[in-house]
């Protein structure tokens, strides 16, 4: 057998072995008191990190997933960073150097940021061809799946991670609460499709639906607290601050609603569809629309602080710091903006469309872009 033939057969065998390799994530995490556990970090989904940063970044590492990313974000626990993709994969990388710790492979698409607990990773896999979601409970310590729960409908929105439970909505219009072992605590069926990521206000779960309603459920029981008809389908996720819900709709309106009864406190018309979940800090609510405009509004009265237009569609929630906004842009870049004026301080080019909502954790900024590339930057002076 010639040498070239030998090499050829070896390559074939290696390809076969790698193709059949078991997907696994096996790790031992220490207790993390401040994990980045879900999209928006908190159940209120504020997307705000109270730090002051420079406008200079250096790239630390990059790694890739298999499929493209949705407009979700990474989750971080201890020294591990988790990311889902649309080809049914969950990847785990080392936070500091980006080396791959492991990956999980499923048939379907994972739209929600996986929720890591100390030794458990929970994520929903929306199946292709079947109108079902497989809710996966994965034991990180032993590297094996502990629970697979079939749920009717697909989960296309973000989960809420509570101390001892998770809450999520299906496209079907149902809302579920499961404990950390895969036991269902309650389920509620609204019968109206949901494409808007839920958030929490106190003990109330808040989400919008395709019918233009804002619905509030009791977190303990899943019972309806109120249904507030606003108008215009809600694809944007909602966020909460100071007892106000901030949410945008298909008609281009950003609403501030009273979280107690869902009544409109103020509204602002941005003129184009809003898909991103608004970001909130102490004074401002920041949101962008598909027309490419990014707005900063006074979160108490809805008055416009500034508007900056990009030749783009803005569909990923930006990250807010004390002084800077980190804005992902599908036109192959992300921007650092002066939070007080909206002026672009610096633009960093990417090789693909920025997709993930940026996350700042332990001085590292995580940016996800096409096709399934995750990059870590460090702020430098």
């Amino acid at each position: 057998m010639g040498f070239l033939k030998l090499i050829f057969y070896l390559l074939i065998v290696m390809l076969f072995i790698s193709g059949c390799a078991r997907s696994v994530i096996k790790l031992s995490a220490r207790l993390d008191e401040e994990p980045f556990q879900m999209f928006g970090n908190t159940p209120q989904r504020e997307f705000f990190v109270p730090v002051t940063v420079s406008d200079s970044l250096i790239e630390k590492w990059e790694n890739s997933a298999n499929g493209g990313f949705p407009n979700s974000s990474v989750a971080i626990y201890d020294e591990y960073i988790f990311i889902n993709d649309l080809s049914g994969r969950v990847y785990c990388y080392n936070l500091l150097d980006g080396t791959q710790v492991g990956k999980l492979k499923y048939k379907g698409a994972i739209y929600s940021t996986p929720v890591p607990y100390k030794s458990t990773l929970i994520f929903p896999v929306s199946l292709e061809n079947d109108y079902l979601t497989e809710l996966i409970y994965y034991d990180l310590l032993n590297g094996k799946e502990t629970n697979l729960i079939e749920i009717p409908g697909r989960v296309l929105t973000e989960m809420i991670a509570l101390e001892n439970a998770i809450i999520f909505c299906t496209e079907f219009g149902s809302v579920y609460k499961y404990d950390l072992f895969g036991e269902k605590i309650w389920e509620t069926h609204t019968r109206i499709p949901i494409h808007s990521s839920p958030c929490m206000s106190g003990n109330k779960i808040i989400f919008g639906n395709d019918k233009g309603e804002i619905i509030s459920l009791d977190e303990e029981t899943g019972d309806s607290v109120y249904v507030s008809k606003i108008g215009g389908t809600f694809f944007s996720g909602s966020s909460v601050s100071d007892n106000k819900i901030y949410v945008g709709n298909e008609n281009g309106y950003l609403y501030a609603l009273n979280s107690e009864d869902g009544r409109i406190v103020w509204e602002f018309n941005g003129g184009a569809r809003i898909l991103m979940t608004p970001a909130i800090d102490g004074q401002n609510v920041i949101f962008g629309n598909l027309g490419g405009s990014l707005y900063s509004l006074n979160k108490f009265n809805g008055e416009k602080n500034w508007e900056t237009n990009f030749q783009s569609v803005l569909n990923s929630t930006p990250l807010l710091t004390n002084n800077v906004i980190v804005l992902p842009d599908v036109l192959l870049s992300f921007h650092l903006l002066d939070k007080s004026t909206g002026k672009i301080l610096k633009t960093y080019n990417l090789d693909g469309r920025a997709k993930l909502s940026p996350v700042l954790y332990k001085d590292l900024l995580f940016i996800g872009y096409d096709d399934g590339l995750l990059r870590a930057y460090e702020f430098v002076e």
Partner: protein
Amino acid sequence: MQIHFPESKKLFFLTIILLLLTPDHIHSQFLYFGRNKVHYEEFDWKVLYTDHFDIYYYGEMGQVAEIGAHYAEEVYEELKVKMNHIVTRRIPLIFYNTSNDFQQTNITPGLIPEGVGGFFEFLKGRVVLPSTGSLKDFQHVIRHELVHVFMVNKVYRVLKDHRIPTNKLPPLWFVEGLAEYFSTEVDATAEMLMRDAVINNYFVGIEDIFRIYGSFLMYKEGQSFLEFAGEIYGKEKIAQVLDNFWMYSSFTEVIEHTFGKPIERIDAEWLYYLKQKYFPLLKESSPTEFSSFKLTKDGYNFTPVYYKFNNRHFIFYAANRDGYSSLYRFEVSPEFIPIESPQLILRGEQEEEFEAFHLFQSAIDVSDSGLIVFNTKKGGTDAIHFLSAETSELVKSYQNNDLIYISSPKFSSDGSKIVFHAVDRKGFSDIFLLEIKTNFLYRITNDYYDDKDPVFGLNDNQVIFTSDRTGGKNQQKYNLFTVEIPGHEIKYITYLDANCNSPILSPDKKKLLFISDLDGVRNIYEISIADQLFGNKVTKISNFISGVFSPSFIDTSKITFSGFEKFSFNLYLHNLSKPDIDTLYAFDMDMKTLPETWKANFISVPSENKDAEYEKEYALDFAQGIVTTDPVYGTRGGAVFSITDLLGDDRYYFVLYNTAAVQSEILNSFNIVLQKVNFAGRVHYGFGIFNMNGFVYDITDPDLYFYERSFGGSFLLSYPLSKFHRLETTATIQNSNKEVIPNVVERKAILFTNTLGYVFDNSLWGPTGPIDGMRALVYLGYTSDIKYSNVNYFSVIGDYRNYLRIGYTTLLAFRAAAFYNEGKEARMYFMGGSWDLRGWPRFGIRGEKLWLSSLEFRFPLIDQIGLRFPFFNLGFFGLRGALFFDMGGILDEFYETTFGSLGWGFRMNIFGVLTLRYDMGKRIENDFKEFQDGLFYQFFFGWDF
């Protein structure tokens, strides 16, 4: 005759030739038959760079290009919001100033029918479209094509994000429906078609939409479905269909998922929605044939005019009754009842003089002195023709190189002048006046507004026309205007929130009739004229369910027009004095303060981004690796590439393959063909080089099996005289060494081959092949060994085919062909098999001189078969039958025998791309003396001869 591809390479080259020629060159050049895409113009391309587009335009159409660029950028901003998507690459937009110039594009190699408004080419993402003179239509087509660009790009991203193979798209009804839904409102044409389909029960739901696949109805049903879905389920659901595209392999399931209901239910709701909308029309409107008298029965009939001579009454009109658009007439009684069937008076679309009638866009007229005026495409531009109504003789033609597209010429009252609409080289659609005797041309309007449908007004110094120059709240609606000659002052006649067209004055000049879509579809309205002034009161005088086109007066109380009903355009007679429906109404227009005309927006770009010279950028069209295996020659492989420039003018073909059977032969067995073909000008030329080595099994060669080493070059030239006929010539020089015994050069030759050919083709095609017209060719060739005199022969090929239509789809097809080679080492021709002499072994009859003749009677069997499977539905169309009789013979040294066959078979078009044929019959053997025992059966994919 020049480059011989031997049998051993046949499979390989067959693949390559198929790759090179389908569908690229099937239309014309360097092939047996086919109509020609004639490049009458040599375009001086320029480029305009905007934020997202590279806009290619030429000549004087800079203003229209800048307006189009502005539209494109506007649409880009709209679509990114609607689709939550951005196309990150620059999009090439190629503009032509008229449909006539657009038909010369090289971006798609095929012939472009007159009705095509533009296209998006998937391979390189190019958008190609003409300005028709109407900026509104231009905007619509830009929008329509950009929806395709965004949709295709978005679907690609969705699939790629999910790591699903990206080679699928939604079905055509959705693709085109979405493009219409996002690009225009439901206009009078869409409304007319949907009303007619629902009321006359030929509407089909999404489940059965395969039955109308590819038709205009399918486009409009797709749009209608999305209008319905957007209204009932929410507009956001439409874009969501694309987001959900990854979820199911079946698009029907994607629809069911997005709208949350089974497709049967959605279809039922859609039909209910349409019935709710349209059935009330039955109470307030009437079918055209109930309120008017129907004059014609078959075909698509337009633009009738009345003329009386020799005390006989005639209706003259343009129609497509048999696949060709032509002029017809029929006689009517004094009561206007047709008393004869339509008579063809001028056949169109079979020769250059009358290459195309703009049947849907134009109109004809007749003067008091009996001249019929009409326009056709003639070569690169349109021409106006004058025909005697009484003798049907062509009296005069007028053509102006600056007027590319012409429509609707109308006579003055004394018949000495005509006014007409034309689009010039700038892409401006304006009104012109021509003095018939002197050919003096006078331009009446000159701007970017779409001025059309002119008629002489209350006197011959006034012209009434329709224009989109309307300003104010009804901006860009087509209203009626007058213009005085000279003076050029333009005044509103109507100011309506509707599109008005086809104005006609009554013979007594007391009323002006026109067509308007004020109530959704085109109906007839009237304005009274008193004291040489047009009144402000508009009276609706018809309330047909569907549309009316091109009316003309017979006398003050009767008009004739073309009406659409039951998916057909027919001519009608309408009595104005007897309104038989009580839902007609009148209203007053507010004409007190009439707004200025609107102004178009031009793109604003830095000067360096304008008027840039086009520099050819080449990119790969296709690259295909091929491996072939056969039991004699083993496995061999190769590749074929094609690259073209962005405008498709230059094409390069590269073929590389190796025929080595063992390693030591590799270096000596490379076969290379490099070829360039240029399509930019009227003369298409090509040149190339080749080097071919290898063992050959060649049934057309007397030595049959040998080794041949050859290299050389070739030159091709094709000159289309018109769309229908062309001259071709080739020259090839080839160094050929032939070894019948290995390593012994049996024959050395430097072959020089010249060919000259003439090809004619005006055939009209049905689903399985030609159904009308004629095809003919003559090739002359001479091959000689210019160094050793080892080879020396001449060649003649003649092939004639005629298709004689007996009925609409029934015909007699006739073919006579002769193939003649004479001289030293003359090559052999062959026949036999389902291509030519059916029943005989494939390529089984060989000779240097052959003749062949076929007669075939083709008739329809079944027009449509629908198969319903549990998971999908399938439709087959155009099942045809045939009775055939073939005969042929070899004429080499002496005439041996005549071969023949006769039989029957059926043919079926498969997915619109090829024909499946199954023939059975009997050979006529023994010098035409007896039939074979039993029957032969032949199965074949290919078109009828």
